[in-house]
């Protein structure tokens, strides 16, 4: 689960289908989908968004959506 | 005296011209204020379908 990852952790996305389809589309546009390797860069306080990196590209997404993404730690 | 009349006419002429121009421009919004307005052929903005 993304929720359990901390800043600096790396993971591989295994299921993204529970996320709202608009967010899914946007992430897909940015090249983030099932099979992508991501790295959590930082986590904002008070349940704020998190910043992840994939293929040298940093993306900010909300915590709410992040916890719906299934990742496997690597 | 003639100088006064000339200066007065010039100032008022310039002022009226720019005043009218400004109001027209502002009313049209972004487009007319755009740098490229002479060469720009876009209809500025609103695509046919706004979702």
């Amino acid at each position: 689960m993304f929720g359990s990852l901390k800043a600096g952790d790396k993971g591989k996305i295994i299921d993204i289908s529970h996320v709202g389809h608009l967010v899914q589309r946007r992430l897909l546009d940015l090249g983030i989908t099932e099979g992508s390797e991501v790295c959590v860069k930082c986590v904002m306080p008070f349940g704020g968004p998190i910043m992840i990196e994939s293929c040298g590209q940093c993306v900010g997404i909300r915590r709410r959506e992040a916890v719906q993404i299934e990742v496997e730690r690597i | 005296m003639i100088a006064s009349v000339l200066i007065g006419a010039a100032i008022f002429g310039y002022a009226i011209w720019h005043f009218v121009k400004f109001i027209n421009k502002s009313k049209k919004g972004k487009c007319a204020a755009c740098e490229l307005k002479n060469s720009c052929s876009s209809q500025c903005g609103i695509p046919p379908k706004v979702k």
Partner: protein, 667 residues
Amino acid sequence: MEIALIGNPNTGKTSLFNNLTGSYEYVGNWSGVTVEKKVGVFKNNIGHLIDLPGVYTLNPLSKDEGVVTSFFLNESVDRLLNILDASQLERNLHLTLQLLEFEKPALIGLNMIDVANKRGIHIDASKLSEVLGVPVVPVVARSGKGCDKLVDVIATKSIQPTKKNLVYYGKEVEEAITLLTAKISGKTNHSARFLAIQYFEGNDYVKDYVNSIADAEKLEAITANLELQLQKLYESKSLANFIYLKRKEVIESIVADVARKSNSDIPLSEKIDSIVTNRYVGMPIFLLLMYLMFMLTFDWLGTPLSDGLDALLTGPVTVGFEKVLTAINASEFIHALIINGLVAGVGGVLVFVPQIFILFFFISLLEDSGYMARVALVMDRIMESVGLNGKAFIPMMIGFGCNVPGIMAARTIETPRERLLTILLTPLMSCSARLPVYALFVGAFFAGNKAFVVLSLYVLGIVVALILAKIFSSTILKSETSLFVIELPPYRLPQFQSLWRSTWDKGKGFVRKAGTFIFAGSVFIWLLSYAGPNGLNVDMDHSYLAAIGNAIAPIFAPIGFSTWQASASLITGFLAKEAIISTMNIIYFVPNDASLQGLLADYYTPLAAYSFMVFILLYIPCLATVATIYKETTSKKWTAFSMIYAFAIAYVLSLIIYQGGRLLGFV
């Protein structure tokens, strides 16, 4: 010849556009800077270049992306110039493959070679060109390297793509494409294959277009059938996803072919990021930077410069004019027109040019460095709690320069409700035209802590916007959907030259306005103050202007400024906020050395002055902003609403501040 620039957001399309056309369009280091189509002429006159908003695919989500798709469908273009970010090749190629399916002459500008090299990515351009079947020219749009070559290729080569059907989508999809193509071929000028694939991907613009030329039900049946087949055979999630994966396969093999990776050091970007988006210090750093900006603008640097300029204008310049006027024996009317009207009105605004430029410099720095998107990220939590998302903060920050581009920038916000909300609230951001009012009043009343008082006004604007966002989103603009995914570009060290360019470009507008509209306005305001029911050269208190001001002045008595002078300047402020200052300079004109600042103390108490500034901050969007709101919302109702609520909130707040302050014993 018409050439369209297409590419992912933030890949340097506009930078290249500026380079090739010699114009200056808005460049910034975040995604979604360009939100509308812009046309320019090539420097060497070989044709028109069209700059478009950045898109990831041709299937749009937000309105700025829709501009591109409808451009594709409705307008003819001779050549497509696809800009790729060399450091993000894989992501960029998704769009390229779609463009090539469009089967129009195309060429590729491989941009940001410098960035890619720094990251240890080396791309073989000639090999890429061979694989894709179109010319590929490496460029660095920022410095102009390679641009000449690019123009050569555009102008000379025939660049019909040499390869067709780069992507094979598998037997089932290809069969369906053939079926659909048969239904529409001959009825359109566009590539039928392109339309078919976009249709399968669920592109609504294309769907509408195709449905208008063919039988919607039959097309629907083909799609449904295909989807079912794919599900059965490959357990694919959706047709769109299937197509995406097919493209991805092709891209992976292309990239493996053309790109070489070597080791590189950790980008500076990440080090900076660990500080500015740090959990604890992110927010304080933002506020600190704002504070620094205001100290520089209003205290350390801006004020001394403005004072110097003021001394120059009221001293030597006025004396010079007087001399010339006496020499040519000008009439008293002309004398008063020039000295009391123009020098006071136009000069009074020009005095603030240094401060405006400093502010613009900071805004440009914010835009060009990559910090903008980080602020949006840091702000998202707060924005979310009021029913908006962090991206809405970008239009608001642009609004600090001028509200009009701020409102345009709201196009990048995907959900219509959040976009409307952002459009309505952006005018509460204190634009640069309101700055002279603050500068004047803080100089007169709050000399001890100028920057702090002005900062409080800017923050007040933001806070009011957030509170109203909460109110609106829980009453008139209710909806659940909210979307926040933001691309965070790498930091780029802004080049001095481009910083200066964009500062100048923004500041130029202010100076030009002073010479045109403010000039015109000053003439009329002066005339109204010079003439009255009893003839010319009346005492100003009996002029037409006083009569107009007096008519509405009583409304403002409860909030601390019932003079006709205040009312008159508020009226002119609707046309342009700078006009407030020039009106005041004309009304309070004093022939001797006594400055306007000193004089104001006779008319305002400090408390009334603060109330006045708050009122100016909020009271009504200027004419150009109102027109833009109308254009962007295409709704008279919302446009009227934006004016009325602003006035109401301004009045209520000023009332609270003035009456509350009096109760507490301030004066």
